[in-house]
Amino acid sequence: MPEADDLDLEAAHRGSINPVSTLEPTDTAQVVEHEPLTMRQQRARLGIGGKLAIAWLAFVTLAAVLAPVLPLDDPNQSVTSIVRQGPGTDGHLLGGDALGRDILSRMVWGGRASLLLAFSSVLLGLVVGGMFGLVAGYLRGRTDRVLTVGFDTLLSFPQIILAVTLVTVFASQQGTSTTRRMVVLILSLGVVSIPVLARITRANTLMWSEREFVQAARAMGARTTSIMVREVLPNVLPAMFSIALLGVAVVIVAEGGLSILGVGVLLPTPSWGNVLAEGRADLRAAPHIVLIPTVVIFLTVLSLNYLGDIVRARFDVRESAL
């Protein structure tokens, strides 16, 4: 072990990654208190980036929620004077699109659709996938094998194609309502996120179920469901949430992709994805139509990823402090 790097690595191992070796007599409370700031803890701190991320997400969400009461133009009303006009024209802050609709208004209302879709489908994945993952990870054995085959099968479908197929089959006929399209989109993107969340939940459940407090709960005679819900789940939730945040980001991007393929949120109801998709035709003449939703999606996805990292790091810190 003469190499400095090796030694430092070893120190890092003992110091932060695995501070509570079961073999080493440690007064844990002391160890925890004296633990230096690890890289992870530094990541776990909100910092300026984290604050910006939260601010942006709060801003976008608030705007989407308050869309009906905000002093905005009708997102579907055409005003010929702002057709393909850039930001600022005639008091329209973000300009107009190819049909002369106010882009600011379409972005705010579009955020409503995009975020609703993203959060709902991930929530669906979180609930269904989380439940299956928890059951598979805790019960193991046959249940686990069967469920794992299920998750793997779902995962092996190319996800966008799966979603496109589902939407085409169930919500592309003439006269399909916006609501129906929305519900089918939520379900099909939810189905896609189920196996991902299920696997994360399962992996974490496996790990936590090994802990002796779970054994202790069994030894005291607690019932299986109550152990899963009361002992295991609270410990697995942070990991699930951090992945779910990334999932929301993925769905927002996916909706953009689906819109480009013509199976996104049903027009004329705006969404970030279909504003972007419609704008592609005028990329040369009016690049701002594409640019605005791109930037909004980019910032949102970035913030979600960032926040997901922070959630995970927080969770890890607590983990390693235990």
Binding site: E3, L7, E24, P36, L37
Partner: protein, 365 residues
Amino acid sequence: MHASADEFPRAGRGLLDVSDLRTQFRTPRGVVTAVDGVSLSLQRGRTLGLVGESGCGKSVLSRSIMGLLPPTATRTGEITFQGERLDLLGDDAMRSYWGVQVSMVFQDPMTSLNPVMKIGRQILEPLEVHTDLDKAAARETAVNLLRSVHIPEPERRLKQYPHELSGGMRQRVVIAIALACGPQLVFADEPTTALDVTVQAQILDLLDEQQRERDMAMVLVSHDLGVVAGRTHEIAVMYAGQIVEIAPTTTLFSEVRMPYTEALLKAVPRLENASHSRLQVIGGRPPDLASPPPGCRFAPRCPYAQARCHTEMPPLVEADTPGHFYRCWFPVGTDAGREALERNVAAKVPQAEAAVTGQLTVEAG
């Protein structure tokens, strides 16, 4: 406030001389002084035992001497090794010492070996970096090293990965690597804590044997006084970053002066005692090193503590036996100590009662 080097007249230039070593960490809670004014010296061929409860600074002390501290640490004091001031050297200069002159055996052989590198590679690496042996000679040396740490079939082991060996074997490999370049000084930081009793005895014997054969100096860190008792020339007891008692091994056990050492000795169940005999307990826990108590650091837990202990830090003073130093106002085995304990028992001071009865009253939590 620090009793330090000047009061600790350790004469002579040893192989290693440490004087007034202080290591601090910057933490969110303030500055933690993990090693606080430690002085010691070590001669060639001698073994120093370093004992104390978890978190009292044993590992940090070893790492400070080796110069293996994280960037959040600051170190002051003098470290002289073979006449060279190690504390003045940077990492680059230290590199020529690490593994060559001074090396370290860690507690957990699983984390101190690289799991994805064959044993052979891990032993050959230091040999190739630090010696000018050619390939065949280096290999030969590696095989001999493994043989000297009593690993059967050394040639075959070179091609194995760490996980293919048992814990005891792995620790032998770690020792072989530490010894590869013939260091003058070896730090063994709880080398057997992760091992079983029978294997522990084997590993301690091995370290002993190698130390004797190679005439090295060794620092054997342990939280178990039993481990160091039969295998060291001298023992230093650490508490809250300070050396609170240091003495030749036999003296320490026969003439304990520091109440903390006494408490450590009495807390372990002894084989010669009958079953169900009560153990002496030490209430509370070691102080927070970010804000240690102003007087004697052991005062809040000490059965002997008097008013003076809470305000004045006792200096390290020499006992009757040369080479025996301790830090205490009311030392064990002296009249002052006996009176202090009696006074505390009479006054029903909880620590004193605990020491006498083994009963601990309700803790604050």
